[in-house]
């Protein structure tokens, strides 16, 4: 799934959500409200990530170097925790929360090093999730 320019602008203009897109909002909302993600939502997010192989590649390296990072559910919950939002709502709110979480990570978070590259925890968690979903049948 590819976001249109209009959708992108609606997401707050923060290009950060180009990576995540609306599918992540749906995915996280289901996880938050229902405690589980439907196969359809997982498939939509997985399809989105397939169009962003860089994230999958980066996530794959991170998971190689951090085999204890956890499975899909744990990664998703850690992302949700990092967003520090009361309840996941619309994609534009998610975009804002994502940017806030990213800045918090740069300011105070523990850096994550992947092949020596200094990245935020949020970045690598998202990429790890992308990698994990990409290995599943969609």
């Amino acid at each position: 799934m590819k976001l249109s320019r209009k959708q992108f602008l609606l997401l707050g203009g923060g290009g950060s959500l180009v990576l995540l897109g609306a599918p992540l909002a749906v995915y996280l909302r289901e996880l938050f409200l229902d405690g589980a993600v439907s196969p359809e939502s997982r498939a939509r997010l997985g399809a989105f990530f397939q169009e962003h192989p860089a994230a999958i590649e980066l996530g794959r390296h991170y998971l190689e170097e951090n085999p204890d990072a956890g499975g899909e559910a744990r990664l998703a919950r850690r992302i949700l925790e990092k967003l520090e939002i009361e309840e996941p709502a619309a994609a534009d709110e998610l975009a804002a929360a994502l940017r806030r979480a990213q800045i918090r990570d740069w300011d105070r978070g523990e850096p994550r090093l992947v092949r020596g590259w200094f990245l935020t925890e949020l970045e690598v968690l998202l990429c790890a999730l992308a990698s994990m979903l990409s290995t599943q049948a969609i």
């Binding site: 923060g14 590649e57 740069w106 020596g116």
Partner: protein
């Protein structure tokens, strides 16, 4: 004038001021004294050019951390180490002079304001013009967005090879006598502990002559390693070496830690950055502000960003650039830069200059360099790199790859020095804490002074030669007061 010690018949000489060493410190000190009409004798171990026999005298043992060959790192001829100095100049920062409680043994006996006028007076000697940076012209680093960093500049001195620059002036001088090929080998002290004379010898292949120089005041100016070695050699026949009652001579050897700390992948679109280009006159750098250094309890360090076509960021880089750009709201498109750091070292007794069991051509012990890098040194570099990586990430300007893969698992063996030999005859407020006082005078030898970077109790990140010259001018003021020419003295008394 130059006097070739290999060819003279006399053996005894006398002067008001006798300087040992014709490197930057000794030369500038002599020129300042000459200007005031004070006669000076200089003993220079080498000739006017680099010669193998003299350079061999600079060899030594490396028993600590790996270091450069000492006969390459030091130059034993007229002009000394200015002959391989790149000319980078920057006054030390105010924080470098302060007592930082997290840096044991830190603090100069005076503050930056004391040395400031001497930096100004140092400029003409190396033709260094006052510099007022035009940032719009030279760099577009968005300093407001990186409040933890200070953007600043070093300057390149156009005329920094002092041996060449002043050779004619020394040759013509009637007040400065430079005895070439004169290796200091011995000190003679009187019953009051004052230095009466020094003995110098020429090498065997140069006639093996022995010369004795008497003076009212002596100044040791042979470099950050050799100053300590020469003093340690004076222990022969004494209870302890000159200045070494408290075992400080040779201790606290410091360098500036140099290395490429990482690669910075900068988003071209978001960061209209022009690198801190090296022109023939200046170079920009970043430094963590004093308050950050205090909060993090680290030392001073500067980082230089250099764009290069030769950087190989590795196979994962394309993914990093893509993801980072999208997370930051940019289009991918990167420029790669090296992050080079030049970092201060903490003074520790474990880092020292001692005497080897091997002997030089004059039968004296060679130097033994035992360089040590401390945990605080490593922490300083780690913290600087982490702040830079965070600043660029936070502002959406790019990402950084730390060299060697991880902050905690650095392979520290790639750290190098800069041929900056400092700290081995440190300046202090009391004899219990150092070798020389705030006027560079030895605590226990009242007519022996030490000039050069060996007196630095702390080094900051700035290359040392500019400070060496400033300190030499300050010392000249002091000695000029002690050695006023008779005419001037009479005039002063009459007035």
């Amino acid at each position: 004038m130059f006097i070739d010690a290999r060819k003279i018949e006399e053996q005894e000489f006398e002067s008001g001021v006798c300087i040992i060493g014709a490197g930057p410190a000794g030369m500038i000190l002599a020129l300042e004294l000459e200007e005031r009409g004070i006669p000076v004798t200089i003993l220079e171990a080498g000739g006017l050019e680099k010669e193998t026999a003299n350079q061999n005298m600079a060899r030594g043992d490396i028993t600590g951390r790996i270091y450069y060959a000492l006969d390459n790192s030091r130059l034993r001829y007229f002009g000394g180490c200015s002959n391989h100095w790149a000319g980078l100049c920057r006054p030390m920062d105010a924080i470098d002079f302060t007592d930082r409680e997290w840096v044991p043994g830190s603090g100069w006996p005076f503050g930056a304001e004391t040395l400031a006028p001497y930096y100004d007076r140092a400029r003409p000697y190396i033709n260094l013009r006052p510099f007022r940076p035009n940032e719009r012209r030279y760099t577009t680093f968005p300093r407001k967005q990186h409040e933890e960093f200070e953007l600043n500049y070093e300057q390149y001195a156009p005329d920094h090879v002092l041996g060449q620059r002043f050779q004619r002036q020394f040759k013509k001088s009637k007040l400065i006598k430079v005895y070439l090929y004169s290796n200091l080998t011995d000190f003679e002290t009187d019953e009051n502990g004052r230095l009466r004379s020094v003995t110098a010898r020429t090498l065997k292949e140069f006639g093996d002559r022995t010369l004795r120089f008497r003076a009212k005041t002596f100044v040791l100016a042979t470099g950050g390693i050799e100053n300590a070695r020469i003093l340690l050699l004076s222990a022969k026949g004494r209870r302890h070496a000159l200045g070494n009652a408290n075992d400080h001579v040779g201790r606290y050897f410091m360098e500036h830690l140099h290395a490429i700390g990482g690669i910075l992948a900068v988003q071209s679109e978001s960061f209209p950055f022009r690198p801190f280009e090296r022109t023939d006159y200046f170079k920009g750098y970043l430094r963590l502000r004093d308050e950050i250094q205090r909060n993090e309890e680290i030392m001073n360090c500067r980082m230089v960003l250099e764009e290069s076509q030769d950087i190989d960021p590795g196979p994962l880089s394309e993914s990093i650039f893509e993801v980072a750009a999208r997370m930051d709201g940019n289009s991918p498109g990167t420029r790669l830069m090296h992050v080079k750091f030049i970092s201060e070292q903490a003074p520790t007794r474990e880092s020292y200059v001692g005497l080897s069991e091997r002997k030089d051509a004059l039968g004296q012990p060679r130097v033994d360099l035992h360089w040590h890098v401390s945990q605080l040194d490593k922490k300083t570099i780690d913290v600087n790199l982490e702040h830079l990586a965070r600043a660029f990430g936070r502002e959406g300007h790019g990402r950084m790859q730390i060299r060697a893969g991880s902050l905690s698992s650095w392979k520290w063996n790639f750290l190098a020095g800069g041929n900056h030999h400092m700290g081995t005859t440190r300046m202090a407020a009391t004899a219990a804490k150092g070798v020389v006082d705030s006027n560079c005078r030895m605590f226990d030898v009242p007519n022996l002074y030490v000039a050069g970077s060996s007196v630095f109790p702390n080094t900051g990140h700035a290359n040392p030669t500019f400070t060496i010259i400033a300190l030499a001018i300050r010392l000249a003021d002091r000695l000029a007061h002690e050695h006023r020419p008779p005419a001037a003295g009479l005039q002063a008394e009459r007035s």
